[in-house]
Amino acid sequence: MVAPNQDEIARGIKEFILREFLPGENPDELTATTPLVTAGILDSVGTLKLVMYIEEKWGARLSAHETDVEYMNTIGNIAKLISNKLK
């Protein structure tokens, strides 16, 4: 099976976030650089949900310290982290 590229992962994460946390919001306003943690879109519960989704969808296992804002604050950063893990 071919590992998804970073853009595909980013798309998947964006869809998940829009569906789970931002229903009814304009998808165009959620970009790869929109802050998630610092803007309050991802909190502890949200982060755990996203981590579960990532594990189920791509089989990428994250470590606890990777829930840090450094990795989780934007869709771009999350996609990059997962993409690196899947390589």
């Binding site: 306003e29 943690v37 519960v45 829930t67």
Partner: protein, 893 residues
């Protein structure tokens, strides 16, 4: 690097816009210099405010002055020298507060701990090494091994290392930050730490990532803003603490209970204010750390509350416990997503409780184990878990739009949720603050009564909270700890300094300072309201409120385990108290009596006060010189009854003010009327009005005195209530029928909780004290003894208003005492010159001298007493007859 040898990193602390700006400043451009000058002016003003308000005592004032100078020098240093200079400032602060030797020890032990983290051995072995060093420190801090004169360093080291070392090792393990010699020293030796043992758990990774991650002046400005916010909160805390906080036994209605709960929650302003000041100070050295608290009174759910209050702690727990536990549990078979969530929250709160006790140990040297603590953390953890499950199922509304697209319905909903959360937190917080769960329940039992004003009070406060919540409570998580790095990056994207932004922020700081520094004695304030002027004046000093002064004093005689557990003011005092100073009088010279008096001095024995001074008891059981039972001919004998300040707590026998008075009377006896004066000290520590009456009846009369000095203090009502309740609950019979009658009328027996019992007796205190005074005066008159009521103040511990004290004067006057008021005995001298120690308000040698001087002056000024005791109008054999003639009014029986 993930561990092992450290890099010499001082060359790389500043990056991004911060570096460019720092270099531009060094180039000396006037346009850049002015903003820096603007912030420096604010910091200078704040330093002045801290000094005037004696924020955190004098030591912090000195550290703040050092910070001001260090801030200016630090700013102009090249980037490579900034971190080493900050470490130097921190070490100087240590030396300033602890002295050179202790500071050297702190640095040496600290270096050993940091060094152990970087030994070129496996990570597991390094942890073992750190644990071994930590265990050695535990032995010193617990007192299992004596560390002699350097015992003062362990709480400071504990505060610096007990959590930060854990974070440091975790980040080392997970490669979470850049490690280097100066960076590590700066992380552990933060200059404000020497004054604030209760310190926010700064995350190492955030500490590194936020270092000059923005324009320097913008970082400095936020530092000044936070210091000013912190100072304002600390002054508000003083107002709440000194004027609003209630004793549980004062709760008599629903409104009282509400006030008790809200003010107990507001005591947290002390921690919130302190943390703002600490982080603000760190900003002045480029550490652009995030906010530690964010509008914590306006949380709209338990999760929201947890995210707003002590944010650093929440992030610490999330990083080290919540996420790791949750990740592990989620990977286990048979544990559902919800189960993992609940368990990880539960375990996080268990560790929160445990680590608070651990922190307590490092600061106090004892382990904290109290039922209300466990109940508080347990219930909060449970509520948070339920709240998180709810949020997992019903996702809370989020929005990408600024402001969130809110409507009046959502505002109303937010306001209501804020009110409900506020109420729930108040209830929980009052439980945490209670001495025991029984006390907490007893308070609720008192609150069944609703007074007319209660509905207005409760409704008004809740309405204000709801409105504030709806208007200000909706800000997103910009304040969160994790957001710091991202926030810095976002700000870095902004170009240049925004003068308007700086101007507004600085104007806020200046406005705060201007309000705080309003001269209280100006005509405007004083003539508008002397009471307001008095309140403002009292806010400028850090002092115990009446309740805590009583607890502290009570602690001299009783083992009040963790009296300061939920009490920032007492906590601070006890933290400064050297080991062993909280021990009560030790030795054979004092013994329990198992009756109402509870204790007495033992004839011809001695004991030792906690400061090492000997208490020598005379052959007749007095803390005094030797006197014959039979009064020698021609002698005027004055008997003195009182409590510890009269007994001479912590001073030598010859230094007590009653002995100084005796010496003066005999030295200046030029009348030949009396061959000698004897002032006999019957005082015993902890005695209130009832015990003094017992002493008069059982002991004083045998010595045939001519005059009785009844020494009163500010606790006349309180000690009557406390002693009766203690006696009834201990099954000790009350010494007078009128006391039995009153306790029976109030339905108090040995099973009544002390909070309830004190609450019921409180309204009867004036009546009881009046009866005691009448009995004292009447007994004296019957025996030809002149009763004199003397008010003895305590240095630095007098209540800000004299409402109750004035009532004592009224009772004494009504009973027929002559009155001597020594309230101004300590005028013109500083409190520290007159009291034993910051944690001990008993007068020291200078304090006793001041009392003796004042007593002499008041005697000379009193027409009747000066005539009878000092003048030449009354022969000795007629003194008793003269005294039998009542001075004012007859006593009522």
């Amino acid at each position: 690097m993930g561990g092992g040898v450290m890099a010499a990193d001082s060359k790389v602390p500043i990056s991004g816009p911060g570096r460019a700006a720092a270099e531009a400043f060094r180039a000396g451009g006037a346009a850049d210099f002015l903003p820096f000058l603007w912030v420096t002016g604010q910091v200078a003003l704040l330093t002045w405010v801290v000094d005037v308000y004696e924020i955190e005592q004098a030591a912090f004032g000195h550290v703040m002055q050092l910070t001001l100078v260090g801030f200016v020098v630090h700013h102009f240093l090249p980037p490579a020298l900034k971190l080493p200079f900050f470490v130097l400032i921190s070490v100087l602060a240590l030396g300033l507060v602890l002295g050179a030797v202790n500071a050297a020890w702190v640095v040496a032990v600290g270096l050993a701990l940091i060094g152990a983290c970087h030994l070129p051995i496996s990570f597991g072995k390094r942890i073992a090494m750190v644990v071994t060093l930590g265990a050695t420190m535990v032995a010193f801090q617990a007192g299992w091994v004596s560390s002699g004169k350097i015992s003062v360093i362990w709480p400071i080291l504990g505060s610096m290392f007990c959590f930060r070392l854990v974070v440091y090792l975790y980040d080392m393990r997970t490669q979470g930050g850049a490690f280097g010699f100066w960076r590590s020293l700066a992380y552990f030796f933060m200059s404000p730490n020497v004054c604030f043992l209760l310190f926010p758990v700064v995350d190492y990774k955030t500490f590194c990532k936020t270092y000059y991650n923005d324009e320097p002046v913008r970082v400095y400005q936020s530092g000044a803003t936070w210091i000013s916010r912190g100072v304002v909160q600390l002054v508000l805390y003083r107002f709440v603490y000194q004027f609003l906080v209630m004793d549980p036994s004062e709760v008599a209605s629903a409104g009282d209970l509400f006030r008790y709960m809200v003010t107990t929650l507001l005591l947290y302003l002390k921690v919130s204010g302190t943390f703002h000041v600490i982080v603000g100070m760190l900003h002045l050295f480029g550490f652009n750390l995030p906010e530690t608290h964010h509008r914590w009174l306006l949380a709209s759910s338990f999760v929201d509350y947890w995210q707003r209050i002590n944010i650093y702690w929440k992030e610490f727990m999330a990083k080290l416990v919540f996420y790791p536990v949750n990740f592990r549990l989620s990977q286990r078979e048979g544990i559902s997503e919800k189960g993992a969530l609940v368990l990880s929250v539960g375990i996080s709160f268990f560790f929160t409780w445990l680590l608070h006790s651990y922190q307590w140990f490092w600061i106090r040297g004892t382990y904290l184990l109290a039922a209300p603590d466990m109940a508080f953390w347990g219930i909060l953890g449970l509520l948070l878990a339920v709240n998180m499950l709810w949020q997992q199922k019903f996702v809370r509304k989020r929005s990408l739009k600024k402001g969130g697209g809110w409507s009046w319905k959502s505002d109303l909903s937010l306001g209501l949720r804020t009110v409900l959360t506020f109420m729930a937190i108040c209830v929980l917080w009052s439980l945490w603050g209670a001495e025991s769960i029984g006390e907490w329940l007893a308070m609720w039992a008192q609150a069944v009564r609703v007074e007319p004003g209660d509905v207005g009070l409760i409704g008004g406060v809740l309405l204000a909270v709801g409105l504030a919540g709806a208007m200000l409570g909706r800000s997103q998580r910009e304040w969160t700890y994790q957001g710091a790095a991202g926030k810095g990056v976002a700000k870095a994207a902004a170009t240049g300094l925004n003068w308007r932004q700086l101007g507004w922020a600085g104007a806020g700081v200046l406005a705060s300072c201007a309000v705080l520094m309003t001269p209280v004695k100006t005509r405007l304030v004083y003539h508008a309201s002397p009471q307001v002027a008095s309140v403002l004046k009292s806010l400028r000093t850090s002092r115990l409120n009446v309740r805590d002064a009583a607890i502290l004093e009570h602690g001299y005689y009783e083992d009040l385990t963790h009296a300061e557990r939920f009490n920032p003011q007492l906590f601070e005092l006890y933290s400064k108290m050297p080991a062993g100073m909280d021990v009560r009088i030790k030795g054979e010279g004092i013994r329990p009596t198992h009756d109402f008096r509870r204790r007495e001095l033992v004839p011809a024995q001695s004991a030792v006060f906690s400061n090492g001074i000997e208490l020598k008891v005379s052959a007749h059981g007095l803390r005094d010189r030797e006197y014959d039972l039979h009064k020698p001919a021609g002698t005027l004998r004055i008997a003195v009854v009182g409590a510890s300040e009269v007994m001479g707590w912590g001073v030598e026998n010859h230094e007590t003010f009653e002995n100084l008075l005796e010496d003066w009377l005999n030295t200046h006896n030029t009348t030949d009327r009396y061959s000698r004066y004897e002032v006999m000290n019957f005082a015993v520590s902890g005695y209130g009005a009832i015990e003094k009456l017992i002493v008069l009846e059982q002991r004083v009369l045998d010595f045939d005195p001519d005059v009785l000095f009844y020494m009163a203090n500010k606790k006349e009502y309180q000690l009557v209530i406390d002693r009766i309740v203690e006696a009834v609950r201990a099954g000790v019979s009350l010494p007078y029928d009128f006391l039995e009658t009153i306790t029976a009328e109030e339905g108090i027996d040995r099973d009544t909780h002390k909070v309830l019992a004190k609450g019921r007796l409180r309204p009867r205190a004036p009546e009881m004290l009046g009866l005691v005074y009448n009995r004292v005066a009447s007994l004296c008159r019957d025996r030809g003894i002149q009763p004199v009521w003397v008010y003895v103040p305590q240095p630095g511990a007098e209540p800000p208003n004299r409402r109750d004290i004035n009532k004592f004067f009224g009772h004494a006057e009504e009973a027929g005492f002559d009155i001597l008021d020594l309230s101004d005995a300590f005028a013109g001298a500083s409190t520290d010159e007159l009291r034993m120690a910051e944690w001990d308000s008993h007068p020291n040698v200078a304090g006793h001298r001041a009392l003796a001087e004042c007593l002499k002056r008041k005697l000379q000024e009193h027409p009747r007493l000066s005539h009878l005791l000092l003048g030449d109008g009354v022969p000795i054999d007629r003194v008793g007859q003269v005294f039998k003639e009542p001075s004012r009014v007859q006593t009522k029986e």
